[in-house]
Amino acid sequence: MICSVTPCKSESSWLDRLRSSKGFPAGSDLDLEQFLNHNSDHALSSDAHVSDVIRENNSYGPNPNSESAPLDTKSVAERSKNAVYSGFRKHRKKEGLFNVMSNVLADLFNMGDRCGIERIRGYVEKKSSRKQPNPKICSLSASASVDDGRLAGVRKADGIPATWPPSTDNSVTEVTQNGDRLKPAKRGKSASLTTVEDKSQTDLSSSCVEVTIIDTSSSVWKSGKLIFRKGNVWKVREKKWISGNLNACRRKRKASVSDDIAGGKKKRKLSQSPLNTSKEAGREELAYPSNDNGKELCKETPDTGSRVPKKRSLLSMSPKKPANSYSPVFHVQNISTSMKDGKKLINQVWCSQLTTYSIILVVTKVSFSPRRSAWLEKLELQTEENAF
């Protein structure tokens, strides 16, 4: 019957194509009786085919549809099929009609889970879904099958269920593999996992602290020192204190806004000292040859005097400061000219940032020249998040 539908497909109208795609016979002279007979036969035959397969697999063993099967067996099977299903024909007719109608309705309307309806009715039809119903199980694919038994063994050893997919979560697999790779190395050093972790912790404890020492027994009271600490081992190195810089720093402070006592945290945050109590820096310095008595370290380390202007430049509201690319602050400089451009700019700002950010408009320089069409010479827009 399906074959009867297929040839009409190329030459029939859209209505025929629709009918054929839904399993209805094509043609304009169809009445209800014909329609019902046609569909019940179709449904019964398909059901019979499926049941045949099941029954034959269970009871007869060899497949009667296979060409190698003897003819006698095939005829016996057909006969027995007719005998078994003849009693249910009337009931099947109604059921087939219901299925067809529900399919049609489900295509026209969103009827919810069609499979659910079928499941309720006890009729399971295998329909391929566009999405994988259970991704983890379905991802057991070629890559998983390629996987050897080693990983499975590792997974079992780690307490991971065997059904757990090996390649669905790459990161987890990687960790497992890394752990697998690390373990022999540690064993090779005859050290357990915990000892290695402890060792890494002791490595972390090594640090370098830059301190300012005031010692009234020294010729210069104030000095900078670098303290390298690894566990209980403390090493102190001199940090050359440039007193001139200190005085210059003081002079600057006196001339302008001076610093807060407790405001050092801000300053420290802003100053990007490479040695400023970072353990990485400490390790690097410890790795240096020690014949320089710390003088090189002093050169690399910015003194406190150089921090002050840094802080000011960063904290200043100067519109000339380039905005950080990661910050929501942006500057538009040297916007010329015509009112049209200005409107464009404002529109851009309106569209892009106004809804999310508050805007401060800073007009740094406004001048007017009647000969030119450019009224607005320099307009800077500074948008700051949560400015108000």
Binding site: L204, S205, S207, V209, V211, T212, I213, I214, D215, T216, S217, S218, W221, K222, K225, I227, R229, W234, V236, R250, R253, K254, S256, V257, S258, D259, D260, I261, A262, G263, G264, K265, K267, R268, N276, T277, K279, T304, S316, S318, M339, K343, I346, N347, W350, L354, I360, L361, V362, V363, T364, K365, V366, S367, F368, S369, P370, S373, W375, L376
Partner: protein, 475 residues
Amino acid sequence: MLRRVAGVDMDSQQERLFIIFHHWIRIIFLLHLIDSLPKGLGISNDSLTDSNFWDINHTREEKGTRIADCVILSLLMAPPKKSKKTKKKSAALKKGKISNIVPQEPKAIESDWWESFWMKNSSAGATVPSDEAEGFKYFFRVSRRTFDYICSLVQQDLVSRPPSGLINIEGRLLSVEKQVGIALRRLASGESQVSVGWAFGVGQSTVSQVTWRFIEAMEERAKHHLKWPNPERIEEIKSKFEAAFGLPNCCGAIDATHIVMTLPAVETSADWSDPANNYSMFLQGIVDDEMRFLDIVTGWPGGMTVARLLKCSGFFKLCESQQRLNERAKVLSKGVEIREFIVGEVNYPLLSWLITPYGSNDLTSSMADFNEKHKAARSLAAKAFSQLKGAWRILHKIMWRPDKCKLPSIILVCCLLHNIIIDCGDTLQSDVSLSDHHDLGYGKESCQQVDPQGKIMRANLTKHLQNCKQKHSTN
């Protein structure tokens, strides 16, 4: 040009934009970001009289256009000659707000600061003395005379000169006395900058600036109040120690305390963590018989041991290189020589120039006597630290994330002020010093390091004390 702009048809969105634009400009005025905008924007009453404003406004009224247009146009209609002024003023703005706020003619320096402060704060608490002189000491820890001396020390650095001088809320320049008062109150009370500022009628930032300027000035100009004494003074100290505690040739007592602070919970702060699980900075001091600091070292992390702190100090190096405590040895009876030394706690090593007490096990009577005398002598250092932390409560209160580069300066200045009080003959109020130990919560882990020469020294001192006791009993 006006017509062309006015001829632009504006839809509702653009009209909204212009209104928002108008508000932006108002905000700019309020924030004082730019004071050089054309005055015709109609913000202040003064600007209403400006000719530019009226010209433009009149024109626009005739045309019957919207107010938003007027704002925009008045913004854009800035006279060209004002641009230079704008540049100048914006440059001045970059230098600092103060220059912009300070009036052209400096107002009178605030000299009656104490009267107003006393009026405001005399009834602040029940503990404030009713007497004004006592009240002055209560707030600033020093007498009026010592206060004036401190002012004279820092006068040159703190004098306010326009335009950079600091001002109070009314716009009057802060006098040196008031600045010193602010700084002393901040150090003495340890209260927040806001509280201190409220008491003086200044802002928090002014308190911050003034305190730090005072600290810097004191660091430079009060150094002579903290120095190792000359030989004459050393002899005086020795005789006082011997008279008071029976310890010959003792030049002072050493102790250390922790200045506790809070630090951010990051890994780098761990270096400042001490055995009591605080973040702290060490202060080691050697005091004389009058509890004056003769030598201090500070800035080292509190996680160190005291013995290590000593070894890191310049005093240790000087003593080890025979440059200090090596003046004149005292010859006791039977030809026993006692060199100059200081006394310290059990957490210090026993050295030839640093004598620690005996351990608590198996003590003979002579040893116990020695320990008693020793304890009395070294308690001077503990008392000094108690007074220091009690008088200058900024050291006693837990500092909130201080700049560890600046904290040593604060500690030093507090020690300088402590010495100035002693040098000027002031006495602290009786309830000022801490009632409990200056380093509460820190155990004294005994140092196992023993120098043979130190052991001999300690034995000789014990014998000497025993002989003295015997002589005393026979007499």
